[in-house]
């Protein structure tokens, strides 16, 4: 029988506060198989680990149970300690008596009893654990970055600069994301386009980056380090090699649709270039609105195109690429808030959202950066900005804080004031969140020097009376009801994950939170990784954040990828499914069940097989196997039944 050492951690008072560790130490000392037992204040500390190492030699242990926190935290710490003493790392079991016991119970007697049982089940499991060695697999040193906004661009450039290949996939005809729509950026007020376009050009020129614009992910197969991804590139209907960007086509196109780039404030044609600095720089046809498709009713652009670049018969192309890791940087959309009737958004042309206002401020926008309001082109003299439009509103809209609105609204008010010196900006707010570097100074300067009036309270409604937008609000600091006859109203809409994030997440098999944002592996210690090996997160796809934070996270994700790429092969957990060939009837249920494509049927032998590298050890095939032929290594039926027996017999 194995000689097992049991080490019970106090975790300060986290465990000891509700579990009587001394009592358990006594109770378990005589349990069959236990050769040594000890408790200590912090097992994960160096003295704690040394204790384990010393005892292993002294008491000739060949297995260790550490009763402490969740294995997701310190399992590898203790496994490493075992390995140092030449004991296979799979001879370690963690009994989780913190998250699953001391933290969730208050009754000392009950939680002590429960902790005792949890430890005994771990001992029972360990008794039958095999020593296993990791499975090694080759690593494809190429990374897929999904999303060509600032986060995706930054991550792609960092990895490419590190010397590894990157595929950058962008759904829209041009990269640039939302940042390219912005006028100037807080708190330094540097021009967004000026700092963004060089990066976009760098993407285009970089020898290690392959750009798939106008493309989407169709499927992904394989496993950590060795994925196969199918990328579908939608046709541009314009040959970029022939197109000279002469713009003759748009002059003749009869179809006019709202411009995405200008957030619907201007119009574009059905054949268009998203914006002059687009990367890749080419025109494209929007088939939903073009009259040249199904049936052909118009060929004006083709007729006008001198270099003969337009081809209505282009077909979508699908590319299959091999990659080792994925960075998801799919960004955000503004909350559409169609149901925000009380602010008249969508009803009155002079009620704008934040991105529309960015376009008006921008030198490349519909007004060339001049401050005119959309309804009649007049210069607005009184402008009301409403923060938390749809954010922090669990009752009707988004429960969370969108994080960027406080600062972008302030920036809007400032830039407005720079353009209209005798104008008056008002900002309705609930709290001002200015935690970033130099953000608070930015706020204070705006209030004392720029003449921006902050009003603490939420606006109840906005309606039009003649040429004015009447704003009813409240200053909760004075208790005064406020009424402003505004020329323009700007709503600081909250942000949500970009459209179809849910579909992509399904393809990639990632997790999202209740608001649809991607979930990181650990909120503090692993903020740029997904819990799924090989997937990394960057930018607003993971949660609302501003440009500095999105760029930081992108570089962080890139660093993680670079660390991975510096290996020649990847190791894979040996906790995989195995098949008892004598019991297997070859029914194939496991093949249909396996979500990873790791199970196959050997037609000649009439038995099911397991591809160790593909198997993630999820256990799905084991639970469906009618003959109990499929077993999980170190989680066999025998082990599980032993654990249940110990837990329930008491």
């Amino acid at each position: 029988m194995k000689r097992i050492g049991v080490f019970i951690c106090h975790c300060g008072i986290n465990i000891k506060g509700t579990v009587d560790v001394e009592k358990i130490t006594e109770e378990i000392a005589d349990y069959p198989g236990v050769a040594y037992i000890e408790n200590y204040i912090f097992m994960c500390s160096e003295p704690g680990q040394k204790l384990i190492r010393d005892v292993i030699i002294e008491h000739k242990l060949d297995g260790v149970v550490v009763a402490a926190c969740s294995p997701t935290l310190h399992e590898t710490t203790f496994q490493d300690a075992l390995e140092e003493m030449n004991i296979n790392r799979h001879q370690l079991e963690v009994a989780n008596i913190r998250e699953q016991c001391s933290w969730v119970h208050t009754d000392i007697e009950e939680s002590t009893r429960k902790a005792n049982l949890i430890i005994k089940t771990a001992i029972e499991k360990l008794k039958l654990n095999e020593s296993l060695t990791p499975i090694f697999a080759p690593l494809t040193k190429r990374t897929l970055v999904i999303g060509g906004g600032i986060a995706g661009i930054q991550a792609a450039l960092d990895i490419a600069d590190g010397g590894y290949e990157v595929l950058l996939v962008e759904r829209n005809p041009s990269i640039g994301g939302h940042m390219i729509q912005l006028s100037e950026t807080f708190p330094t007020l540097d021009c967004s386009q000026c700092i963004m376009t060089p990066k976009m050009v760098a993407i285009n020129k970089h020898k290690n980056i392959k750009l798939y614009a106008n493309s989407e992910i169709e499927s992904i197969e394989g496993f950590f380090g060795n994925f196969k991804v199918r990328i579908k590139r939608k046709p541009l209907y314009v040959d970029p090699d022939k197109c000279t960007l002469c713009d003759d086509c748009t002059a003749v196109c009869p179809v006019v649709v709202p411009s995405e780039y200008d957030e619907g404030l201007t119009w574009r044609k059905a054949i268009y270039i998203p914006f002059p600095q687009s990367i890749p720089a080419t025109f494209t046809i929007d088939t939903e609105n073009c009259l040249g498709f199904n049936p052909i009713a118009c060929t004006k652009c083709q007729d006008a195109c001198e270099p003969d670049a337009i081809n209505y018969d282009m077909k979508p192309e699908t590319f299959e690429e091999e990659i080792g890791a994925v960075i998801v940087a799919t960004g955000f959309d503004l909350n559409p808030v169609e149901n925000m009737a009380e602010y008249g958004y969508g009803k009155y042309p002079d009620v704008l959202n934040g991105l529309q206002f960015e376009r008006i401020l921008s030198a490349t926008g519909p007004t060339g950066g001049e401050m005119f309001r959309p309804s009649d082109g007049k210069v607005p003299k009184e402008v009301v900005f409403i923060q938390c439009s749809g954010s922090r509103d669990p009752e009707r809209h988004l429960p969370y804080c969108s994080r960027i609105c406080c600062m972008y609204t302030l920036k809007h008010a400032k830039l407005y004031k720079h353009k209209v010196h005798d104008g008056q900006p008002y900002i309705f707010y609930i709290d001002i969140r200015s935690g970033g570097k130099r953000y608070e100074e930015f706020v204070q300067q705006a209030v004392s020097e720029d003449g921006i009036v902050y009003i603490r309270g939420k606006v109840s409604r906005v309606y039009r009376e003649g040429e004015k937008m009447i704003v009813h609000g409240m200053d909760t600091l004075t208790g005064k009801k406020i009424e402003i006859e505004a020329d323009m109203v700007v709503l600081a809409m909250g942000i949500i994950p970009s459209a179809d994030t849910d579909k992509l997440v399904n393809i990639l098999r990632l997790n999202t939170d209740e608001n649809g944002f991607l979930v990181e592996a650990h909120p503090k210690l692993r903020p740029v990784e997904s819990i799924q090996s090989g997937f990394y997160l960057a930018g607003t796809a993971q949660g609302p954040k501003d440009i500095p934070d999105a760029v930081s996270q992108a570089s962080g994700a890139a660093a993680k990828v670079l660390a991975l790429m510096s290996n020649d092969e990847i190791s894979h957990s040996p906790i995989v499914a195995i098949v008892n060939e004598d019991l297997c009837s070859g029914c194939g249920i496991c093949v249909d069940t396996c979500p990873y494509g790791a199970r196959e049927l050997d037609i000649i032998e009439k038995i099911a097989t397991v591809n160790d590298v593909l198997c993630e050890g999820c256990g799905a095939c084991i639970s469906v196997c009618p003959a109990s032929a499929a077993q999980q290594k170190n989680l066999t039926d025998e082990q599980i039944f032993n654990m249940i027996r110990i837990y329930t017999n008491a």
Binding site: N339, A341, Y463, R464, E465, I470
Partner: protein, 292 residues
């Protein structure tokens, strides 16, 4: 077709015109509002305290009567009765304990209340069952040239679970008016409270409300407004007398019940007796537009 109907007190007094017009209109549309038997006051205002079931008894007793008479629905005209009956029903039937307690309080009744009767506002019947398209077909005297605003007040829209339409951006009254051929106007104060029962203790509050609401309608181009609440009608119409005393520049504006205008448009005509129940005389404008 017969529709079981709950009138409420005010429709038998100050708002008799509301009811009479409704009867005529529904007859034209092939329906008959059949008044339920033995109804009592609905309690008027819903009581919002959690601990006092006694305050819900008036509403519940009416619903129990309806169950006794094997009615599965009550059609209501008065916004206030609609609101109070709906909320009382939900409050009592939401949990079994309240339902039991209320039944114990009503131990002398012949049956125990189950909560099976639906409460429907007439506007919903017009929109969903009769449809505005059908009403449009029936119009004999289109209200063209009449610029009119729909005034919802509170009780058709709040709480939102009993809103007869979108509680922030309703169109049901406007749509009805359009189907009658009128130019329906959306005015900013159409969802705002008229001051309700403050008309007794804080008359100045209701006068100011009337001033603001009527002015908001006028600024938006309305020549008249319609409502479905007798209390709103009282405050917005009868209180125009005091409003004019308080604000010298205030101009009168007729306030109709929606059924009155339907009657005019569908050929049921205008009854002279209705005019007596109005303060701001509605006849001049109807004559001006050639409607009577």
């Amino acid at each position: 077709m017969k529709l079981p109907y709950y009138p409420g007190c005010t429709l038998k007094a100050n708002a008799a015109n509301f009811e009479e017009a409704a009867m005529r209109v529904m007859k034209d549309l092939g329906y008959e509002l059949q008044e339920m038997k033995d109804w009592v006051c609905c309690g008027t205002v819903f009581s919002m305290t959690n601990d006092d079931l006694m305050l819900q008894l008036a509403s519940i007793r009416n619903l129990l009567r309806a169950e006794e008479q094997n009615l599965n629905e009550l059609v209501v005209l008065c916004s206030m009765c609609y609101n109070t009956l709906q909320r009382a029903k939900k409050f009592i039937t939401e949990d079994e304990e309240s339902l039991d307690k209320v039944n114990d309080l009503m131990y002398k009744e012949n049956i125990r209340y189950k909560g099976s009767v639906d409460v429907t506002h007439l506007l919903t019947v017009l929109k969903d069952r009769i449809t505005f398209d059908r009403i449009k077909e029936k119009v004999e005297k289109p209200l063209s040239l009449l610029k009119i605003g729909g005034y919802y007040g509170c009780l058709l829209l709040r709480p939102k679970e009993f809103a007869i339409d979108d509680f922030e951006d309703p169109t049901i009254i406007e749509d009805l008016l359009s189907s009658l051929g009128a130019e329906s106007i959306v005015f900013p104060y159409r969802l705002e409270c008229c001051g309700a029962y403050q008309t007794i203790t804080k008359k100045d509050v209701t006068i100011k409300r009337t001033y603001e609401i009527i002015n908001s309608a006028r600024k938006s181009g309305c020549e008249a407004i319609v409502t479905s609440c007798p209390l709103c009608a009282f405050n917005l119409d009868q209180r125009q007398k005091e409003t004019a005393e308080e604000f010298i520049e205030f101009e009168q504006m007729p306030v109709f019940y929606f059924t009155e205008l339907m009657s005019v448009a569908l050929g049921g005509g205008w009854d002279k007796s209705w005019s007596k129940l109005h303060y701001a005389d509605p006849e001049p404008i109807l004559k001006e537009k050639g409607l009577i």
